[in-house]
């Protein structure tokens, strides 16, 4: 399984599956932050967009994720002020330039984006910005991987670990995979070559009967990770239980604001509390995220669930497994022999 959505897209774009020998099956895991954001959290974000005079800042691919009452893109089409940003650090400037309005940053993503949110909050606190808050949607990767490995029905022999997350966390938080669950794992980069090198490493480990954590991405990933980033995160957030779309509630897999930063909590400031509406009927995103089925095995795939009108989260993001399958799996074939 490749845990990370960026690996999923890279594999499709470069045709990695088509060059793997027979007997290999690459399963796409839950590593797309947009995909696993729960419907209740999207409802919370849309509710914040409906607050009079609010400006909601979001990473781009959150826009289309469907909640129970539509998506942020729908809110924007209704005239709500929803803006796409590529960095948390844009939020303080927008807040400063918008006196009299409330700016809410949708802080989504794994350990890759959480340090930037933490740094931004520290700057916002320093500048005394009172019209800025965040809806904290950040999630922690290792507990989700552990939850997957606890699932007895899961048929995963080895894991390709998320390279970007490992840049921040280093090796230690993932050692349980090889040590407790006895699965070989490898930290790989995002080029096709790096992914294939990762698959080769896993193959050799398996052939030798080894289970270890290896890295084929040493240029970017230090074994101790990025201390500065983890310290920032640890100061700003405390772990909490969190609902992953398709996977349900996973213990300690979320982040909420540390008590010292609770003034920045949009849920408290605006009295918005994400509920947990039931997941859409027939949607098998949970099974897709667990690697139990491939998207074409879901009855909704390409019939009622398309990127234009996604039912489940995996269809929404360009990195979602179903979205990737939709774009790259066509006419009953992922690819064909090209001379």
């Amino acid at each position: 399984m490749e845990v990370c959505g960026t690996h999923t897209v890279s594999a499709f774009r470069s045709g990695v599956r088509s060059v793997l020998p027979e007997g290999y099956r690459l399963i796409s895991g839950p590593g797309c932050p947009v995909c696993v954001t729960s419907q209740g959290q999207i409802d919370g974000a849309v509710a914040l967009a409906d607050v009079p005079d609010a400006i909601v800042l979001t990473y781009g691919d959150m826009l289309r994720v469907p909640g129970s009452n539509g998506s942020l893109a729908d809110a924007r089409a209704r005239g709500r002020d929803v803006r796409v940003v590529t960095s948390a650090m844009e939020a303080p400037d927008i807040a400063l330039a918008s006196p009299g309005r409330q700016v809410v940053f949708l802080a989504a993503g794994f350990e890759t984006t959480a340090p930037a949110t933490a740094a931004m909050l520290s700057e916002a606190a320093g500048r005394g910005l009172r019209n800025l808050s965040i809806l904290c949607l950040h999630k922690r990767t290792p507990p989700a991987v552990r939850a997957l490995l606890e699932d007895a029905a899961l048929g995963i022999d080895a894991l390709i670990l998320p390279g970007h997350v490992c840049v921040i966390l280093g090796h230690a938080p993932f050692l349980f995979i090889s040590e407790q669950y006895e699965r070989p794992c490898v930290i790989a980069g995002f080029s096709a070559e790096s992914m294939l090198l990762g698959v080769l490493d896993l193959t050799i480990q398996r052939a030798r009967g080894e289970t270890a954590l290896h890295s084929v991405y040493p240029d970017a990933v230090k074994s101790e990770g990025n201390r500065k980033a983890t310290e920032l995160m640890d100061r700003a957030f405390v772990p909490c239980d969190s609902v992953w779309r398709g996977l349900g509630k996973i213990s300690s897999s979320g982040m909420r604001l540390a008590p010292s930063l609770k003034d920045f909590d949009a849920e408290l400031r605006f009295g918005v509390s994400p509920g947990e509406p039931p997941e859409p009927r027939g949607c098998r995103c949970g099974d897709v995220l667990r690697g139990r089925i491939t998207p074409p095995e879901c009855p909704l795939f390409r019939t009622t669930c398309t990127p234009a009108a996604p039912v489940g989260p995996c269809m929404v993001s360009s990195e979602g497994t179903c979205g990737a399958y939709f774009r790259f799996y066509k006419g009953g074939t992922v690819a064909w022999e090209i001379s």
């Binding site: 499709f12 826009l63 289309r64 590529t86 794994f110 774009r327 006419g331 690819a335 064909w336």
Partner: protein
């Protein structure tokens, strides 16, 4: 949901395609359909096209909305073998914009018109209240006369035809994205340029089938429209695509696929196998087409689909993008 238009309906991919079909279905079908071609052939050798321009930012490396508004329409004529001769322009201006800024865009537009010998024949100027438009919207209608009797269009595609891409792709989209998301990429500029001269140079080539400028939706969308519209298969080779490292770096950061990024001065030419080299050598005489490359072929197999042989020797399907192209989280 579904009752309101979102920005995805304007991004040039599948949603746009479907919306245009629904809109045009209200009208009776024309006697000479040019459905989903870049311009319409009219009686007596005339041809016509129309395009609306909204771009943010309005000034970008390599051009501005004025230059864009002429190149966009002119290129739609050029790729069907039509010499652009007259242009009509509609301006919608937002209250509060500086007149000098508007005049600046008109100077850029006039420069392209002068270069190609195009006359501005008529126009319309409206000023709307603050907030009713985003600065400047320009619509241009270009007309001209055909310089070839052949009916250039995707219906002419045949298995075995070669596909020539006139330059590295995705530059306009990458430039605009870099500006919008504050990425500093020195040397990256839009490819915005008129294509009439290079297109004209190909018109007497016997094996010329059709041409298309890859605008909104990018190269990938054009290939998909051809495969679906003509009921043929298309296969391209990633290693032969003329790729630009600056475009790729923007794509890496934002998670975009360069195949779907807009171009404004790049076209795909379909030509018989025996005339492919002639197309390449003729294009090489024009600076904007100096990077032209033979990127793939039309096939009989897998009609309606576009496939790509990837750099690592793998294969993938190239599909039309759906909805707004959005930067990813990480």
């Amino acid at each position: 949901m579904g009752d309101f238009l979102t920005l995805g309906h304007g991004s040039g991919g599948r949603l746009t395609n479907d919306l245009v079909r629904r809109i045009t279905s209200v009208f009776p079908a024309p006697e000479t359909p040019s459905a989903f071609e870049d311009c319409a052939y009219l009686p007596d050798g005339y041809a016509m096209t129309l395009d609306g321009f909204t771009v943010s930012p309005r000034v970008f490396p390599g051009g501005d909305i004025g230059k864009l508004s002429i190149c966009g329409s002119v290129n739609d004529l050029a790729v069907r073998g039509v010499r652009p001769e007259w242009i009509a322009m509609g301006l919608i201006l937002e209250e509060g914009i500086a007149e000098e800024e508007v005049i600046g865009y008109m100077r850029s537009a006039a420069l392209v018109c002068k270069e190609l010998g195009i006359t501005l024949t008529c126009g319309d100027t409206k000023v709307v209240p603050h907030g009713a438009a985003d600065g400047v919207f320009i619509t241009t209608c270009a007309t001209g006369r055909r310089e070839t009797a052949r009916n250039l269009g995707m219906h002419a595609l045949r298995p075995g035809d070669h596909l020539i891409l006139s330059r590295s792709y995705g530059r306009h989209g990458a430039t605009i994205a870099a500006q919008r998301f504050d990425l500093d990429v020195p040397g990256l500029a839009s490819d915005c340029a008129p294509l009439w001269e290079p297109a004209r140079a190909l018109l007497d080539i016997g094996g010329l089938r059709c041409m298309r400028d890859c605008t909104r939706g990018g190269t990938g969308t054009v290939l998909c429209e051809w495969a679906e519209g003509a009921g043929v298969g298309i296969e391209i080779r990633e290693d032969d695509l003329p790729r630009d490292p600056d475009v790729l770096s923007v794509c890496d950061i934002l998670g975009f696929d360069p195949l779907y990024l807009a171009c404004e001065g790049c076209m795909i030419v379909a030509v018989s196998a025996e005339d492919a080299d002639t197309v390449l050598s003729r294009l090489a005489q024009f600076a904007p087409c100096s990077g032209a490359a033979d990127i793939g072929v039309v096939t009989e197999g897998h009609p309606g689909l576009v496939g790509m042989r990837t750099h690592i020797g793998g294969h993938r399907v190239v599909d039309m993008p759906v909805g707004e192209i959005l930067p990813r989280i990480c």
